[in-house]
């Protein structure tokens, strides 16, 4: 009875528009380097936390290879967050702006979408998620560059944009080194199990 069946999987290539429920953009309100860098810090930190959760979920589902990859991504994003602190000379994380951070979508642009995970996913898929996140981060700072109200903020945003572009490039190279999954990667001969 174990008819091979593809376990429900995310759509290939992660096609997606900016989430329909997007909130007002933050850039119009960003007036200082401090505020910009607070955004940068939150973006990196939330990305790190999300990757760590992804790693936990993968570990719980015995997908050690992808778990390790997410763990690695979490470390990278954590380092990015720390770099923001160092650059700014901050000894503790900055306070969130009044009313919380305002992102373009529901979440910070570098935070992975929970629903894109799959228990049989391969490093290639994980890197696709990472690539998408880096591209969104790049676009986020790009839009800050366009909307910056003063030269200082514009310059800082440009630097961040360039950094994210570098991240995109690194991930793209990483993907090139990573084997593409077979067409049947999501096939599980067993049905789901019953739990509680």
């Amino acid at each position: 009875m174990n008819a091979k069946k593809a376990a429900a999987k995310p759509a290939r290539g992660h096609p997606r528009k900016a989430a329909a429920g997007a909130k007002s953009r933050p850039e119009a309100g960003i007036a200082s380097i401090d505020e910009l860098m607070a955004y940068a810090y939150a973006l990196e930190l939330e990305a790190a936390e999300r990757y760590a959760e992804f790693a936990d979920a993968m570990e719980a589902h015995n997908n050690r290879e992808v778990a390790e990859l997410f763990r690695k991504l979490a470390r990278i994003e954590n380092r990015h967050a720390e770099q923001v602190l160092e650059e700014m000379g901050w000894v503790s994380p900055p306070d969130a702006p009044h009313g919380g951070y305002k992102w373009e979508g529901f979440e910070a642009p570098e935070s992975g979408d929970v629903t894109e995970l799959h228990y049989l996913m391969q490093p290639y898929h994980a890197l696709q998620i990472a690539l998408h996140n880096e591209k969104r981060a790049h676009a986020f700072f790009g839009s800050l560059v366009k909307q910056a109200r003063n030269a200082k903020v514009r310059k800082a945003a440009q630097e961040m944009e360039q950094e994210e572009a570098e991240h995109v490039r690194l991930i793209e190279e990483w993907i090139k080194r990573t084997p593409k999954p077979d067409a049947d990667w999501a096939i599980d001969p067993d049905p789901p199990v019953l739990a509680d």
Binding site: A8, A19, G21, D56, L117
Partner: protein, 280 residues
């Protein structure tokens, strides 16, 4: 009853509300993000783990208490609202949040849902709705579309879906909101308001099941902030909710009904005083 005296302590962060027990849900499940929303809401409200209780029944969503550091109660299928009402009425000092799903909350627990709304005990009821029974491998729930094919109901149930928000409103819930798991901050904000509002607060969280309803990944493209604001007029709210497509997010109704809370701990007699009624 033990009531610990509050000690001056540092504020509890969202992360502190996560337990050291990692969630076990399918990778991709929307419920992961709901944990995040819970912890953010608790931290933002300045709650303390010892004075917060999360009560649940049975189902994927009901696993949530174990993933938090608050007091938790993981009871039987469909009865979480009753257990939570007992807890809150006996211990009005606690913040009580109930976690449920569309099977646990609307099907087996449907009767308690109506009466909890009606009773209006000061607690927050969170239903993670994914239109399917996940834990038992994909059977239709009360919110499943009538034509959704499954092993248990081949060709679909042919039965119309249940409309939880309108039922909550009609039954007397004091706060009715819809949120989306993919928007953890927005959901956390709704939870903050739900917990802050006295009385029975009902929050439906659309939370995709990627295993049995992979098409729900598209919910992120369907949801939108409700074009109307919060009203305190139940008739207006009902008209609006009845005509929306189930993807409008926000606090749709907030009433001013006083919560039900009999005066626990306020009697002034000793048990022996009650004997007078028996004496000849």
């Amino acid at each position: 009853m033990t009531t610990a005296t509050a000690r001056p302590t540092v504020p509890i962060s969202a992360r502190d509300f996560k337990s050291d027990y990692n969630p076990i849900w399918c990778p991709g499940c929307g419920d992961y993000s709901v944990v995040l929303s819970f912890t953010r809401a608790f931290a933002s409200l300045g709650l303390r783990p010892e004075n917060t209780a999360v009560v649940s029944g049975i189902g994927c969503s009901s696993r949530i208490p174990a993933y938090l550091t608050s007091y938790g109660f993981h009871g039987v299928h469909g009865r979480s609202l009753a257990a939570a009402a007992g807890l809150k009425l006996a211990r009005p000092d606690l913040t009580v949040v109930v976690a449920s799903g569309d099977g646990d909350g609307y099907s087996i627990g449907g009767n308690h849902f109506m009466h909890a709304c009606r009773r209006n005990v000061d607690m927050t009821y969170v239903v993670m709705d994914n239109h399917v029974y996940g834990m038992t491998k994909g059977q239709p729930s009360p919110t499943t579309e009538p034509d959704w094919n499954s092993k248990l109901s081949p060709g679909g149930t042919g039965v119309r879906t249940f409309h939880p928000l309108v039922i909550a409103l009609a039954a007397g819930a004091n706060f009715v909101a819809r949120a989306f798991s993919g928007d953890p901050s927005g959901t956390a904000n709704v939870l903050v308001e739900a917990i802050k509002t006295p009385g029975f607060s009902f929050v439906e969280i659309l939370s995709p099941c990627v295993t049995f309803r992979p098409e729900q990944r598209e919910w992120k493209n369907a949801v939108r902030p409700a074009p109307v604001g919060t009203t305190n007029d139940p008739a207006r709210a009902a008209r609006y909710i009845m005509t929306d497509d189930g993807f409008n997010l926000g606090i749709l109704y907030r009433g001013e009904r006083a919560p039900y809370q009999p005066p626990m701990g306020r009697g002034n007699k000793q048990p022996a005083d009650l004997e007078k009624g028996f004496a000849i």
